[in-house]
């Protein structure tokens, strides 16, 4: 049985009178790079803050690494959280940031950290505030990885980075994933970058989970149907259409179906990409009502037992 790196049950967080996250139930299995995707304000950071123990839930609960309460010593020991905009002590040299992190944790692989910073060309003597945005993100990632975590949680790690730094950062995450088997849950609103790295997708919208599951399963269970626009309405009633795009002559329906179902006569079925799929759901916040993995509280069912 595989363990869950994050498990939320009816989790909610309210700031004043506004729910930033509401009735969120999900189980993210270990061994994945899981992408938490959603528009700004969807509750991504709130969910990750709750999982990291930085915030206390207003409703429900969240555990990490197989049942450790978020924020407990046991949880903090196993999770490396890299907060949005990678906060570092700007006046401390990289060397002192390493020393600081080593002192604050049970495990710290000093050699790994120094070698990694060397490879990245980040001088140990340079103050964190004097590093470029990409270097700061890499330093924060190095600090997190040198803790030898079982779960790495970067919140919007690439939002502030240029395309090259963004690519390098994601490559680093993938390398760590491959080398150490660390599980990753990262949030991002940069969809293009995720296609390459993520093999698990969690879609958040307006504070609720809209879709969750392994990318392969999600892609296998969705098709893009292209056919005459005039017939679109007719099929829209019979099929689980997530999102429909109609042109003058042709209509494109993103439907939930399996590849075994034959396309209707006169229609062509194409496989969908992750970005296409995510965009379709993001454009239709109500689409979570569809049967399948995205059904509110029952997300656990989508967990794939290995």
């Amino acid at each position: 049985m595989s363990m869950n790196v994050i498990e939320a049950d009816g989790l909610g967080k309210r700031y004043g009178g506004t729910w930033a996250l509401r009735d969120c139930s999900l189980a993210v299995p270990a061994g994945h790079v899981a992408a938490l995707v959603g528009p700004n304000g969807a509750g991504k950071t709130t969910l990750l803050n709750l999982a990291a123990g930085l915030a206390a839930p207003s409703a429900g609960g969240v555990t990490v690494l197989d049942g450790r309460p978020a924020g407990s010593v046991a949880a903090l020991d196993g999770i490396a959280f890299v907060a949005q905009d990678t906060p570092l002590y700007k006046n401390l040299p990289a060397r002192d940031m390493l020393h600081l992190t080593r002192n604050l944790n049970r495990r710290f692989d000093q050699q790994y950290a120094e070698i990694r910073l060397g490879e990245l060309g980040i001088p140990l003597k340079r103050k964190a505030g004097k590093l470029s945005g990409g270097q700061q993100a890499q330093l924060a990632l190095t600090l997190a990885l040198a803790r030898r975590p079982r779960l790495l949680v970067p919140d919007e790690p690439v939002a502030m980075l240029d395309p090259v730094a963004r690519h390098d950062f994601m490559a680093s995450v993938l390398t760590a994933m491959a080398a150490d088997g660390v599980s990753v849950v990262l949030s991002s609103h940069v969809l293009a970058e995720l296609e390459r790295v993520a093999d698990y997708l969690i879609l958040l919208s307006r504070g609720r989970v809209q879709l969750a599951g392994e990318v392969d399963d999600l892609l296998a269970s969705h098709r893009m149907l292209t056919g005459p626009a005039a017939e679109a309405d007719q099929y829209a009633e019979r099929l689980s259409v997530v999102h429909a795009r109609r042109g003058q002559a042709q209509a494109h329906l993103l439907v939930r179906t399996t590849s075994d179902d034959p396309a209707p006569p006169g229609w062509e079925a194409h496989p969908v990409g992750l970005e296409e799929l995510a965009l379709a759901y993001l454009r239709e916040p109500g689409a979570a009502a569809l049967p399948g993995p995205a059904r509110g509280r029952n997300n656990q069912q989508t967990e794939v037992t290995k």
Partner: protein, 353 residues
């Protein structure tokens, strides 16, 4: 569990122990050494200035005492004026009252406010050490170090103010102050260290509540001033039941709280007599309203009123109670500081980001 999901040795989790406390020592030192150095420079510069000023004051005092034997000597009045005029702006101690709160506000308020303002708390509080332990491991050593520095500095203050408390002063009409003088009481003894610690604890809590450095410093200054006035005005006079005497020669070192008069066993009036009473019994005019040191010239007023059956009563705190008062004030300030630090740690622990 599958092997690929478990990078760390599974044995590690079964014996999960917290990161040892002493590891925070370096962290606290590295992050706060600049502010500690600032405090050291501030106190060091003040100490040098105070030492130079103190040498002047001490030699002026020695000269005045020597010149005033006998008190009628011609040189005496000049020397007395010279002593009273030496660093007169320091004599009431009010300027130095600012030292504990400056240390406390500038060292205490940023500890949490800076983390919250710059967002680095999201780094610090998600490390394995744990955030409430992190907070405690910062506040307690910093508070102790600052209080110790303030305590050492107060030894110098104690030396500086010695001449004003010399029992020989009254005989040669030099200013003799009571150790309870509002500006001086907490510069000496353990009060100075205790107030510094309290200011630090107020600053830490303000930083946690306000989350921004500059407003937290301002709030600390305001809260401290309010507390200091409340302590000096209401609490301190009531630490112990005042002594009451009808003796007219209350020593100059005593802290006179109130004076009133009785006639035939009944209360007559408090404080200063009415004008009509003065006209009846002191037709030559009332004695000067105040004598040196700001105390009413009770003796001369008594000279008019006592022959007519009036008795003067004085409630006061004798100077011998100085150390009892110091321990009482130090004690509640220490308790208050501990409470404020505990409240700060509790807030950090339950804080919703």
């Amino acid at each position: 569990m599958t092997a690929m999901t478990v990078p760390a040795d599974p044995k590690e989790d079964t014996s999960l122990r917290s990161v040892p406390w002493q590891r925070m020592g370096w962290v606290t030192w590295r992050q706060h050494r600049a502010s500690l150095a600032g405090v050291a420079v501030f106190l060091g510069a003040l100490a040098v200035a105070l030492w130079l000023a103190g040498r002047q004051l001490h030699s002026a005092h020695t000269a005045a005492i020597a010149a005033c034997h006998p008190a009628s000597s011609l040189a005496c009045p000049g020397m007395v004026i010279a002593f009273d005029g030496t660093n007169g702006f320091l004599a009431n101690g009010f300027i130095l009252q600012a030292v504990p709160v400056l240390i406390g506000a500038f060292a205490g308020a940023p500890v949490l406010a800076r983390e919250l303002e710059t967002g680095t708390f999201r780094y610090a509080w998600t490390q394995g050490f744990g955030r409430w332990r992190w907070t405690l491991a910062k506040l307690v050593p910093l508070g102790v170090v600052l209080a110790a520095a303030a305590g050492a500095f107060s030894l110098l203050l104690n030396w500086y103010y010695q001449p004003y408390f010399d029992a020989g002063n009254q005989a040669v009409s030099l200013t003799e102050l009571t150790p309870f003088s509002p500006g001086l009481f907490d510069l000496r003894g353990i009060g100075f260290a205790a107030w510094t610690l309290a200011a630090f604890a107020i600053g830490a809590l303000a930083g946690m509540l306000i989350r921004r450095v500059v407003p937290a410093i301002v709030a600390t200054l305001a809260a401290y001033v309010a507390l200091a006035f409340a302590a000096g005005g209401w609490l301190r006079p009531a630490y112990m039941t005042p002594a009451v005497t009808s003796n007219l020669n209350v020593p100059g070192s005593a802290w006179i709280l109130s004076q009133w008069w009785t006639k035939g066993g009944k209360f007559a009036f408090a404080g200063w007599p009415s004008q009509s009473l003065l006209n009846r019994f002191c037709p030559t005019g009332p004695p000067g309203p105040v004598g040196p040191g700001g105390k009413p010239k009770a003796v001369s007023l008594a000279g008019c009123l006592t022959p007519h059956g009036y008795t003067q009563w004085t409630s006061y705190q004798p100077a011998s109670r100085f150390w009892s008062f110091q321990w009482i004030e130090g004690g509640w300030l220490l308790a208050l500081s501990a409470l404020l630090i505990a409240a700060t740690v509790w807030l950090v622990r339950r804080r919703a980001a």
